[in-house]
């Protein structure tokens, strides 16, 4: 039930984040607000946070999730992270290229 919350909120709540953010600013904000602490500097994820890149969830769902998370990530209210900043962060995550196929990396095929 808890996992359904973001999806339900997408439908129920008005979307307020700006649609187009600035990826360069977003990279700075991603570091400044500590997103990297759980999700890694390039959104790769890990034990503490899910991967965010290369294809982050759509901006609307992203906004709702960040504001209302009831999972392991605490919600980030507007007092801490504005809608514009959130859009910039989303733009940064969207700009991160897809990783190589692991089959092309010899160390991952030992």
């Amino acid at each position: 039930m808890r996992l359904l919350l973001p999806a339900l909120l997408v439908a129920a709540l008005p979307f307020s984040a700006s649609a187009a953010g600035n990826a360069e600013k977003g990279k700075t904000l991603y570091a400044k607000h500590g997103c990297w602490q759980c999700h890694g500097y390039v959104g790769q994820g890990g034990a503490a946070g899910k991967p965010l890149a290369p294809k982050p969830m759509p901006p609307e769902a992203f906004n709702v999730f960040v504001r209302n998370s009831n999972g392991p990530m605490p919600p980030y209210p507007k007092e801490i992270l504005s809608d514009a900043e959130l859009a910039d962060i989303h733009a940064y995550l969207s700009s991160i290229p897809a990783p190589k196929d692991y089959k092309s990396i010899p160390l991952l095929n030992q």
């Binding site: 500590g34 890694g40 500097y41 790769q44 503490a48 605490p74 801490i80 692991y102 991952l108």
Partner: protein, 647 residues
């Protein structure tokens, strides 16, 4: 003429002179017939106990030191090393160990912190299966040692801790030695040791030492404590009337196995299950443990979630499964789980009003079976027994000792009609395992070329450098997203040793040195993924490794912070609608290790290690690792400082 050493040997072998086999070492005890304990010595030997041997020059002790007899007792237990930080309250036994005892069995290892000494014993045991002893000041030294003793307690690891203490207030030196004395030093650790004693005579010491070893080595294992009076160590052996000194034989106690009725019921549930899942934490006490678990899993084609308290199950086996296998189970068999509640429930630190939210991870009606020796060793104060979980079949027993009976019972309980379904379950598990492997490797490819270096790349560059030698992971402090367990072909019992037990930071570096010591004697290359925060608790253990020529490859997971704590502060700030104060660092005040950055390569070099770094470019990591491995194989410890992603 009886020389001094032969004299005490005579005491040790007292039983032989009275038709009882001589005291034997712990190593050979298992093969010995179970004879009675040693009998009192002959009159001739008894008389010799209380006089100074005539060939000895007069000494100021006034006889044979009591601590020499203590060394004879210790030698029967075949304890190979004594890592310790020197202290005056045990000076007499210290002197006896290195001079009378020849500094062999045990060999004194110079440590720079009592916590390091105990943690070295912790790591050593998990490789060798043999406990070590340590000596410490009974007050200040023991206070330093407590965190490591608590880790050993939580991790069910035996360790014999001996604290010097000067009990007699009328004789003890004033001032500093009196600050370092107490009525009952053992009280400090009584809540997290299996047993303790304060011997008041040499014979009492002999009984206490052998009993301590025996209790520590009876599953569930655990640390034990002996308070050793300075006067008793220092004074000469005296007559005790008709009581003559002897050394009791050490005979191992067999581990507790599960009740036959409970084993049969567990087998019935497992055999009838549609989707049984086995979860193991500290199940494999010995190298035989994983072999038994493979037999049980294959008999059922049940997937196995290895929580990693020990190396319980080969990661390369098709039945090896991630924790996400648990929710689909209709029967869960938990083997030596540190936290059964946490295995079948989840807790999310994000509930209403800042209180964590609980939710079950399993379906209603899922049957739960537990085999856990820790049920026999619960104390009240420290909460290492975790939350209470209702269990359908609960055996207070050692899992490894119970598995042979359970395997046979399961084979007998599987009806012929179930065999086809069980075989199909195996095919599905093979498919799931292969798909999981591919997903894991693709996840590892993310951030492959990033700087700071990704923890997945750190793991696999390291594996690439050691894969052609007999390697063993001796420690993984910090959190590197479990990449070693997800990517390395961990299949031998010694490939993975588990964690600290009590999660007291500072375990990783000293435990790795202790484990590397055991691996050195076995000819294996030790790999330690060393986090920055852990190392800085007591970095002096690096010098101990150099001093005693204990090689290891330490690859630093240097994320320049206490990342376990970063999000705790951030979370609370978010709950309170406040931006967290970073004060110019990359994380909340008090959680970062930067500005200035610590130069770990120079630190290690100053303590006698080969070192290199900091390495920030992933392309430079592989060549540096190969260079370091050559150094380690030549017998020198090597450290690479690597700047990494946070997790």
């Amino acid at each position: 003429m009886t020389d001094r050493r032969k004299f005490l040997t005579g005491v040790v072998a007292a039983g032989a002179a009275t038709a009882v086999k001589p005291a034997v070492s712990a190593d050979t005890e298992a093969e010995q017939p179970r004879a009675l304990s040693a009998l009192p010595p002959t009159e001739q030997i008894a008389a010799a106990e209380t006089r100074v041997p005539s060939e000895l020059p007069p000494n100021r002790v006034g006889g044979v030191p009591g601590s020499d007899f203590m060394v004879d007792v210790i030698k029967t237990l075949n304890i190979k090393y004594c890592p310790a930080n020197c202290a005056s309250s045990y000076r007499a036994i210290h002197e006896s160990l290195i001079n009378y005892g020849g500094n062999r069995m045990p060999e004194f290892l110079t440590c720079m912190h009592e916590e390091s000494a105990v943690a070295m014993g912790h790591g050593y045991f998990k490789v060798s299966g043999k406990p070590l002893m340590t000596l410490c000041h009974g007050t200040v030294g023991l206070q330093h040692a407590t965190m490591a003793i608590y880790n050993a307690w939580c991790d069910r690891v035996p360790m014999i801790v001996i604290g010097g203490n000067d009990l007699d207030a009328s004789k003890r030196p004033p001032n500093v030695p009196t600050f370092h004395s107490a009525q009952d030093i053992n009280a400090l650790v009584r809540d997290f040791t299996k047993w303790d004693d304060t011997p008041v005579s040499l014979q009492h010491f002999a009984q206490s030492m052998v009993r301590a070893y025996k209790i520590a080595m009876t599953p569930p294992y655990g640390p034990v404590m002996i308070s050793l009076d300075a006067g008793l160590q220092q004074e000469p052996i005296r007559s005790h009337g008709t009581e003559k000194l002897y050394i009791p034989r050490y005979i191992p106690t067999s581990p507790p196995a599960g009740d036959s009725g409970a084993v049969k019921e567990a087998a019935r549930l497992l055999a009838a299950a549609e989707n049984p899942v086995i979860v193991a934490d500290r199940m494999a006490r010995t190298p035989n443990g994983p072999k038994l678990l493979v037999q049980l899993a294959e008999a059922l084609n049940a997937r196995v979630v290895d929580q990693g308290g020990r190396m319980n199950f080969p990661k390369t086996h098709y039945l090896s499964a991630p924790p996400t296998a648990v929710p689909g189970a209709d029967v869960v068999l938990g083997l030596e789980l540190a936290d059964f509640w946490g295995t079948v429930n989840s807790w999310t630190d994000n509930g209403e009003n800042g209180v964590g939210a609980n939710s079950p991870r399993i379906k209603a009606g899922t049957k739960l079976i537990s085999i856990n020796a820790s049920d026999l060793l619960t104390k009240a104060n420290y909460q290492d027994f975790q939350r209470f979980q209702v269990i359908d079949v609960q055996m207070a027993a050692d899992a490894e000792a119970t598995l042979p009976a359970l395997i046979e019972a399961v084979k007998s309980a599987i009806p012929a009609a179930r065999r086809s379904a069980i075989a199909q379950r195996g095919e599905a598990a093979k498919k799931a395992h292969a798909e999981g492997e591919a997903r894991t490797r693709q996840a590892a490819a993310m951030a492959w070329d990033a700087s700071p270096i990704s923890t997945a790349r750190l793991a696999m560059e390291t594996y690439g450098a050691v894969k052609d030698v007999d390697w063993a992971i001796v420690s993984q402090s910090g959190n590197i997203s479990n990449w070693l367990n997800r990517l390395w072909p961990i299949k031998e019992h010694y490939h993975w040793l588990g964690r600290s037990g009590g999660y007291g930071v500072g375990y990783g570096a000293p435990a790795s040195v202790g484990a590397a010591l055991a691996n050195r004697d076995l000819g294996r290359l030790s790999v330690n993924i060393q986090s920055d925060g852990d190392l800085m608790y007591a970095p002096g253990v690096l010098w101990t490794a150099a001093k005693h020529k204990i090689p290891q490859l330490a690859v630093m997971h240097n994320n320049r912070g206490y990342h376990q704590e970063v999000m705790h502060v951030q979370r609370l700030a978010n709950f309170r609608n406040r931006a967290s104060n970073y004060a110019g660092d990359a994380g909340p005040v008090g959680t970062r290790i930067e500005n200035p950055d610590i130069d770990y390569a120079r630190l290690a070099q100053s303590l006698g290690w080969w070192s290199k770094g900091p390495i920030k470019d992933p392309a430079q990591l592989g060549p540096a690792l190969r260079e370091a491995v050559k150094v380690v194989l030549a017998g020198t410890p090597a450290l690479l400082d690597v700047w990494t992603q946070p997790r």
